[in-house]
């Protein structure tokens, strides 16, 4: 081996790595700034025709009531209807984006997402049971949230249990997910079949996804769960990178592949469950945000995971802002709008990047 050139080569590699990392940090910072700008714009959008001045006066007046005055109407609209919805969109988009990236990484499959693994189908089934059988009566909304959450977790444990029979591997998990997806979809279709036309409409609407029912309390809960899960996911980003090279490589590097795979899947499912039980099915974010991010900055999970979350947040906030304004005062379900804006962007990147990125 040529020992002489080694010091120079190392410095060159170090520089290259710094450039590599700087580019990715720049992407993360760019996404953060983009989200801040989107928040600034989204706050001023709405059916109530508040001026930009009225909106920001209402925000500032909450903290400095003696400095700026605001009308009760503007204050109610901004604080009780807009802001928590905007932050919920970011938190939910972040959670779905990062959960999708984890699932794709863990299963080494570009099509893995809560939607394709049957988790969304399970949530839909839980919601459908409550809607069709009228469970909860007056507290029907809460019953839907609980049922969707419980069935999402049941599906997760179902995937885990089924795949354990065949040995925890990407293939067994994906097959188990597909089995459960078809099972829950069939059961939901059966409920739709026996339900009334109003119930059918409600089930379909739930599956479109909506941020209409957000509140500060729900935002706090979602943020707490997503916030608690992120450190664990990030700590495992190196393991994910190793697993991306194959289970044997990861094992040779000391990664407990089965345990890491199981834990990350459970956490990603928990994050998904806590979000979609409130919003309905917004499956597309979990699929497309990691892909968009991967096309932009590559597959290093240390950057891919947080960036997928940020892209997911930006995507969902943009989609929801458009959903609120395109046909205002009518609202388009956000799940529909997410696909409308995500697909062209995704398609552009997909066609532009000629080399395989996955």
């Amino acid at each position: 081996m040529d020992q002489k050139g080694a010091p120079g080569d190392l410095s060159h590699l170090r520089e290259e790595y710094h450039r590599f990392a700087a580019k990715r940090y720049l992407f993360l910072a760019g996404c953060g700034i983009l989200i801040l700008i989107l928040i600034g714009i989204a706050t001023t959008l709405g059916s109530a025709d508040l001026t930009i001045g009225e909106v920001y006066a209402a925000i500032i007046a909450r903290f400095f009531p003696s400095v700026v005055e605001s009308t009760p109407l503007a204050s109610t609209i901004v604080w009780e209807y807009r802001l928590h919805r905007i932050f919920f969109a970011i938190a939910a988009g972040f959670g779905l984006g990062i959960a999708g990236a984890v699932m794709q990484g863990v299963l080494r499959n570009p099509l893995a997402s809560p939607f394709t693994l049957g988790i969304s189908a399970a949530a839909s089934f839980g919601a459908s049971i409550v809607i069709v059988f009228g469970i909860g009566g007056f507290a029907n909304d809460i019953a839907i949230i609980i049922a969707a959450f419980v069935f999402t977790l049941l599906a997760t444990f179902g995937i885990y249990s089924l795949s354990r029979v065949r040995g925890i591997s990407p293939e067994s998990m994906i097959l188990a997910g597909i089995i459960l997806m078809y099972l829950f979809s069939a059961m939901t279709s059966f409920l739709q079949y026996i339900g009334t036309v109003d119930q059918l409409q409600e089930v379909v609407f739930w599956t479109f996804g909506s941020l209409q029912r957000t509140s500060w309390g729900k935002l706090a809960l979602v943020s707490l769960v997503v916030g608690l899960c992120i450190p664990f996911i990030m700590l495992r980003s190196w393991d994910l990178n190793a697993m991306g090279q194959g289970d044997q490589v990861a094992k040779s590097m000391g990664v407990d592949v089965s345990r890491t795979r199981t834990r990350l899947m459970l956490i990603a499912s928990l994050v998904t469950a806590i979000i979609i039980c409130f919003t309905g099915v917004i499956g597309f974010i979990g699929l497309v945000a990691p892909h968009i991010t991967r096309l932009a900055i590559g597959g290093d999970n240390r950057f891919l995971l947080p960036a997928s979350g940020l892209v997911g947040g930006a995507l969902l906030l943009t989609a929801d802002s458009l959903a609120r304004t395109v046909l205002a005062p009518a609202i388009i379900p956000v799940g529909i709008m997410t696909s409308f804006i995500g697909i062209p962007f995704f398609l552009y990147l997909f066609l532009r990047k000629r080399e395989g990125y996955w």
């Binding site: 059916s47 109610t76 209807y81 009228g134 029907n140 036309v197 046909l327 205002a328 009518a330 379900p333």
Partner: protein, 401 residues
């Protein structure tokens, strides 16, 4: 092999018992007109062969009631329907038409099949609780329909048009002798006409006229007084279905009914018949009256199937306690109301329209008594006791009389 033979034999038997193909009974000349001589021959033939007795009865009916010609009507789908003989077995897949049949005095003992919603409405349709169910227009049980051997099947004209088109096409293929008739019986713009056509179709002209007079007088009482209110002075109404923040717009029956009662539907010009709204739009629109529809989904209580007043109160309280709503003119002035779909969604929507007119313009309609009109409708046209109106809750707050 034996099983296959049995199945084929059953299918052949089923085909044999299907209704006869189109044509006037006894019309030997085939000129679509029954002459006196043809009727006499038909009756003489029936005296010899009892299997043609029903044909002879039908021929006599057609000759004496329809002047020997087939009956031709145009139903709400705009299609001309030719009726060759009186109906003996009918299937009604829309409860609104069934209710209207009762209103015009039709003998509903010929109804041999009803939809699942009629079966569920045991308080309003008690006489059909043991009638065979044929599913719904969205999930029809074709085997059951065919096995009931109906000579007419009633479905909707506008509601779920594609489902009803499919039913019509399927029955035309499998049972060409069955006449499919399409009526809605819930839209203000078409209902008076439908009453008249149903009266003609079912030979209940007198009952049809009587009910139409009752209906028209009750609607006219409202619309004639509302006409005096200038458009720009009409009360601004926010109407909400049983899905929170889902309203009604132009093209929907509810929008027509609000306007009929003199209300200005705030979101009447939005796209789609039932748009879901941004909650802040409702706040910004400052409605002077709020009408919330109950009777389905999480608001399944009240109406003919009964319900406690307490749940109406809780629903009303939750409505007025929504964030920011206390500043709405409607809430400030206590003009927020719950109304059950039983008196606004179906054929007796005129009762609901009268309630709304009382709420919108209490001075102009102080003499209007929708409770009394409701009771009269039930006793005179539906054969139901008036006590239902007092025992059950259809609006909240209940009207002070």
């Amino acid at each position: 092999m034996k099983l296959l033979f049995m199945v084929l034999a059953a299918a052949v038997c089923l085909m044999i018992v299907l209704p006869a193909s189109a044509g006037l009974p006894g019309d030997a000349s085939g000129n679509d007109h029954l002459e006196k001589q043809e009727l006499v021959s038909m009756i003489l033939s029936a005296l010899k062969d009892s299997t043609t007795l029903q044909d002879a009865r039908d021929a006599a009916y057609v000759y004496s009631n329809w002047n020997g010609s087939p009956k031709k009507i145009i139903d709400s789908s705009g299609k001309e329907r030719v009726i060759w003989r009186p109906f003996h077995r009918i299937v009604v897949m829309n409860s609104e038409t069934l209710e209207t049949m009762r209103s015009i005095g039709y003998d509903t003992s010929t109804v041999v099949g009803v939809d699942k919603y009629t079966l569920k409405a045991t308080a309003f349709f008690p006489e059909f609780k043991n009638t065979p169910g044929i599913g719904s227009i969205w999930a029809p049980d074709y085997e059951k329909i065919v096995s009931l051997q109906p000579d007419a099947v009633f479905v909707y004209a506008e509601i779920s048009r594609s489902s009803c088109d499919e039913i019509e096409e399927n029955l035309a293929k499998t049972s060409p002798g069955v006449t499919v008739l399409r009526f809605d019986c819930y839209l203000p713009e078409s209902y008076p006409g439908e009453i008249g056509i149903l009266g003609d179709l079912l030979d209940c002209q007198e009952g049809g006229r009587e009910f139409l007079e009752f209906y028209t007088s009750n609607i006219d009482t409202v619309t004639s007084r509302v006409a005096a209110v200038p458009e720009n002075e009409r009360i601004k109404v926010y109407f909400e279905t049983w899905n929170d923040y889902k309203t009604c717009a132009a093209g929907s029956g509810y929008d027509q009914k609000i306007r009929m009662a003199g209300g200005s539907n705030i979101f009447g010009n939005e796209a789609g018949e039932y748009p879901e709204l941004d909650p802040e739009a409702v706040l910004a629109s400052s409605p002077e009256a709020v009408i919330k529809l109950v009777g389905s989904m999480k608001y399944t209580f009240g109406g003919y199937n009964g319900g406690e007043e307490e749940i109406f109160r809780q629903t009303h309280d939750a409505l007025v306690s929504r964030k920011g709503w206390k500043s709405l003119p409607a809430v400030r002035d206590n003009r927020t109301y719950l109304i059950h779909t039983d008196i606004l969604g179906g054929p007796h929507f005129f009762v609901g329209v009268q309630y709304m007119a009382r709420w919108f313009y209490p001075d102009r309609f102080s003499d209007l008594d929708p409770v009394c009109v409701h009771a009269e409708y039930l006793t005179r046209f539906q054969g139901l006791p008036a006590s239902i109106v007092e025992d059950e809750i259809f609006v909240y707050p209940r009207l002070r009389r």
